[in-house]
């Protein structure tokens, strides 16, 4: 054991086992880290019971926390912002409700109750609550597949409420169960592709309104829609189309101006309302409604009627409602959370994702009881809110009150509003969602993310909204799996004039150490990659031996595995290490491990692999391992020069 002891004496730094921990503790820690990564209980520590109650109440109703600090100057800002978003909310709400094949008045209802609820429960200062185009489209297609809105409008309406209820239930449950991270599985690339695809689909759907068509396909894919549009070529109404393109041009122009100068945000924010007023006046004076320009018609006066008794829990289509609720709920949640987070980043405050989910969920559950359909925090409306200088969620209350006044007194004014103007409003909003620049950026930075994005886009446009979403999530997950299934292994070399070892691919100046092969494994060793890693390590050894044989240099003696980046190992991985050890032994080589982490070290010890490898062959750094191997190589010169690794190994085994 002489030389072995000598080495361990020389290498002062040993790999340590972490202090032992009872199983129950480590289980609790890992559960805590999985479900409470933000440690929400920290503020409750060491507080008296009454204070804890107040804190808990403030957790669920953040308004209690900030209302006492509310000032008049805040209110001035929120009032302005609230009126601005209300002027956007009214025409957008009506448009999106039409898109969802629901009575237009539902768009106004949905901009009254949910923003009120959110103002009390939401933790974002900038999110403006309302309906969204993608959610409306999804409601229309998913429920429309089973029940046609034209044939059975009452059942369709009730299913829409039921779907909203389940969407809310899902959101609130995800938040309460701390499963908010599920939303993170919709990556940025997925969302860019999905939103672009959905916007394309929504724009195509608007061809019905713009061209004044009576019949239209129920499919959303581009091929069915274009076929439907061109087959009715002779029914196109030019009056409607002309009006539509004029308003679309006006809306795009105002958006362009607002983009150029951020201070003029109100020009584009007001544009939809201006369009609605101009369009209505135009129709009123020209009686265009009698010449092929469809108008909204009668809207009921009065605020939201109750709809609790309309929830169709007993319906044969309950599963459709649940499915619609789940899909629209996840999408709406993803948009709402992302919007909240981005604006919080700007203003430097923190958003608790799980708390937001509870807020979104409650607002949709209460919404489904009060004749509202799916709402979330749409990007366009929140951006206007932000630009208008909102300070707190009070702007949502102002908007809700403005919508309430509209509901109580102003609905008759929308009688003459042409539907083509609503289509123009939707198209102009949707054009902003096709973020081709983001797609180009993805292509430049990360080709795989670009592929994810495109598969979402193509899936939505040529298949259906759900198909696109499923494909994109599957492709995204495949990447995570591929990272583990095919982990990177690389040969390390010595950076000149240092004791640092780095990948020779990244550092072409790094030089190999004669007789020693240093491999870096860059992923956890799991069942899914154990077999691959075994084969890959053997292939590295084969290649190194061939190379050395060809060059006639010193033959291979040591294989050093750098385990620094091996975060975890399972029993399949442990068997793999055992096999690698046997293979390396059989070739007369020596296996050396470097820097196994706490988890890896623990499992290798428990399964006795450490014993087999020998504690003296485990080093803390690659540099120390190489020094020890080099020392051995030279002190064992006589054996080495016999050029027979077999005898060399058997003798050195006794060292």
């Amino acid at each position: 054991m002489g030389t072995g002891d000598y080495i361990s004496a020389e290498a002062a730094h040993r790999v340590e086992m972490p202090p032992p921990q009872p199983f129950i503790n480590s289980l609790r820690n890992s559960l805590m880290e999985t479900f409470f990564p933000d440690d929400p209980f920290r503020q409750f520590k060491n507080q008296p019971a009454p204070r804890r109650f107040v804190l808990a109440l403030q957790y669920f109703l953040p308004i209690l926390e900030w209302a006492p600090r509310y000032t008049l100057s805040f209110f001035k800002a929120d009032l302005l912002a609230g009126i601005t978003i209300a002027s956007l909310a009214v025409p957008q709400g009506i448009s999106y409700a039409k898109l969802a094949n629901l009575p237009p008045i539902l768009g106004l209802y949905s901009s009254f109750v949910p923003p009120m609820v959110y103002a009390f429960m939401g933790s974002s200062k900038d999110v403006a609550v309302g309906t969204v185009a993608v959610g409306s489209l999804l409601t229309a297609t998913m429920i429309g597949k089973e029940v046609k809105a034209t044939e059975n409008p009452a059942l369709y309406l009730h299913l829409a409420f039921t779907a909203t209820f389940f969407a809310g239930l899902l959101m609130a449950s995800l938040g309460l169960l701390r499963l908010g991270f599920i939303v993170d599985f919709l990556s940025h690339a997925t969302i860019v592709g999905f939103m672009g695809g959905a916007a394309t689909v929504v724009i195509l759907q608007q061809l019905k309104g713009v061209l004044g068509l009576d019949h239209f396909t129920h499919s959303t894919d581009v091929i069915s829609v274009l076929r439907s549009v061109f087959s009715q070529f002779h029914q196109w109404r030019w009056e409607s189309a002309l009006l539509g393109f004029c308003f679309l041009f006006y809306l795009i122009l105002t958006r362009f101006i607002s983009k150029k100068r951020a201070k003029l945000f109100w020009i584009s924010a007001m544009a939809p309302l201006v369009s609605v007023i101009l369009g209505s006046l135009l129709v009123y004076f020209t009686h265009a409604e009698k010449h092929g320009v469809q108008v909204i018609g009668n809207l009921k006066k009065g605020v939201n009627p109750l709809s609790v008794s309309d929830l169709a829990f007993g319906s044969a289509y309950l599963t459709t409602a649940i499915k619609t609720g789940i899909i629209t709920g996840v999408i709406a949640l993803a948009e709402g959370i992302a919007v909240g987070r981005s604006f919080a980043m700007f203003k430097n405050y923190h958003i608790d994702g799980n708390k937001e989910m509870i807020a979104f969920g409650t607002m949709n559950i209460i919404g489904s009881f009060t004749s509202c359909y799916l709402t979330t925090g749409p990007f366009s409306r929140s951006a206007v809110n932000f630009n208008a200088g909102c300070k707190t969620a009070v702007s949502n209350i102002v908007m809700a009150l403005a919508v309430m006044i509209t509901l109580l007194f102003l609905t008759p004014l929308f009688y003459y509003t042409p539907i083509v103007v609503l289509s123009a409003i939707i198209i102009s909003a949707m054009l902003g969602l096709i973020d081709y620049q983001a797609a180009i950026h993805l292509w430049h930075v990360d080709k795989y993310d670009f592929a994810v994005c495109m598969s979402a886009y193509i899936g939505v446009v040529f298949g259906s909204v759900e198909t696109g979403l499923m494909i994109a999530v599957a492709v995204s997950l495949l990447r995570v799996l591929l990272f583990v299934v095919r982990p990177k292994t690389s040969v390390l070399g010595n950076i000149p004039d240092s004791k640092i070892y780095r990948s020779v691919d990244q550092y072409p100046t790094a030089c190999n150490v004669p007789g020693i092969l240093i491999l870096d494994i860059a992923a956890p060793i799991y069942f899914a990659n154990a077999e691959y890693l075994r084969e890959r390590i053997v292939r590295w050894i084969d290649e190194e031996e061939e190379k050395l044989k060809a060059s006639g240099e010193i033959s291979l003696q040591y294989v050093i595995l750098n385990m620094s980046a091996v975060g975890s190992i399972d029993t399949s991985g442990i068997s793999m290490m055992d096999e690698v050890k046997k293979i390396i032994d059989r070739r007369g080589l020596k296996l050396v491990l470097v820097n196994p982490g706490a988890d890896v070290m623990k499992k290798l010890t428990k399964s006795k692999i450490i014993e087999k490898i020998g504690n003296e062959w485990i080093y803390l750094t690659v540099g120390e391992a190489v020094s020890a191997c080099n020392y051995m190589l030279h002190s064992c010169k006589p054996n080495y020069s016999s050029d027979n690794p077999e005898t060399w190994s058997s003798s050195s085994n006794n060292v």
Copy 2:
């Protein structure tokens, strides 16, 4: 820029960008690594065309490679091994065919053609081909759900052939498409639990034969089976049960003896045949078949009839056949490959998984044309083959010929074989598959793997075989996802008397560096964890600042992120890095990166994050980063002592 330059001059080692590579090259490399990790084309390099043809032929028919080197002494060994496994194959084949609700003769057919095919195409020297209990059970339950073997035996038989065809097609395609790694997703833990569960289920099914029951449930879960058995309490046949227990005791005893002394392997290998002979003689002389002991009855003479025209491609149950084929194919493949690999490990030769799959696939396709059902390389038979000293796949040919002789001349001898003996043979084989010691080992080494194992077992025993398998695969994949979704982050400290930095959890002696927080991120930064990592990093900073504030020590100035273990990053990860940089800036701290890998470095550069962080704040080792920070901390003392990080930061930004 003075000080900045000074630091970069002092730190001699810079993080480098890998040499640029055209996109198409890196795509080709990563595809090669994904689908051809074993580099099968290596031997074809620099070879003339005729030689390449021979090599390709040898790839698909390995017998061409080893046959020229075959010797007489090899043949002697293979002859002995072949006869031994034939004596096991005949009773086992009949038993398993009964288990699959197929005519018993199919068990013999399946031990004739497939082993012949495997001998030519297989690359394992030890695998002995035959039917397996789990595959037989799965065939019985999955096809039996749609078509009852008792009601429509012809259709049932044809569906079994069709399922075998699709299983073979799947295996061969996976091999040809280089998708063999799919089998690796059945982890060791999954297989232990699944096999144990399946064995339990098979044993429960044997209660029918042992107790001589006429009616039996078609479910496989433990509750249905026990209910069915006890509800027929009064039909239990004690003669049958007594006979069964006697033979079971004999079989278990021989296995115990063989386990104690490996040289006596033939005692347990011959035991099933001995049981069949003894049982048949007993029935013949006592006429027990008239007293409630069921016997096999007539078996057709003659070798496999063709069954090509029986494949039920036009049947209404085609999807059932395809589904059965896929599930049984994957399970059979997993067992066959695992068995081949384990024995290859023992004898130190290499098995090409994809090549084996093509062999297993072809043998099943040809099998389905010649009245065979699903075959693979069962563990028990292969172990006997190995212990009997087989040298090459010729032992499979010997076994096939012995079975052929049985088929041609000896089938009438099985007329009086009692079914209860077959049940005893199955039970004794299955007892060996319940590997409770492996489960205990899993509990000790890796609790999560134990959970995977138990979920597979419970799923199979209380649900169904497919349920158990699906649950176990889902739970296994969840672990891979959890590793990425909740990556480990840890604080690094300085190992005393060194420039080495390691996790303070694992090395309690490691000390924090005042004013510097060093974090290690141990997973790729992907969409699925970007949000978590951002929150976690902020929480680490919060905690560190609180701790420092409480102790009144030097305040936090630098946050060093060690990126060594970050193998990859996507665009969501890049946004996260950007956000972290902004958050850290806003707090008046400085972000320092250490050792980003090639891929990470490339993407951070392309997305301009490196520019924002500043190239001079990226170091090759933690040690160098800490030295530089320490130097700055002390040279900036005046600023630091003003105790205002805000001003400190703005001034140091200009450095």
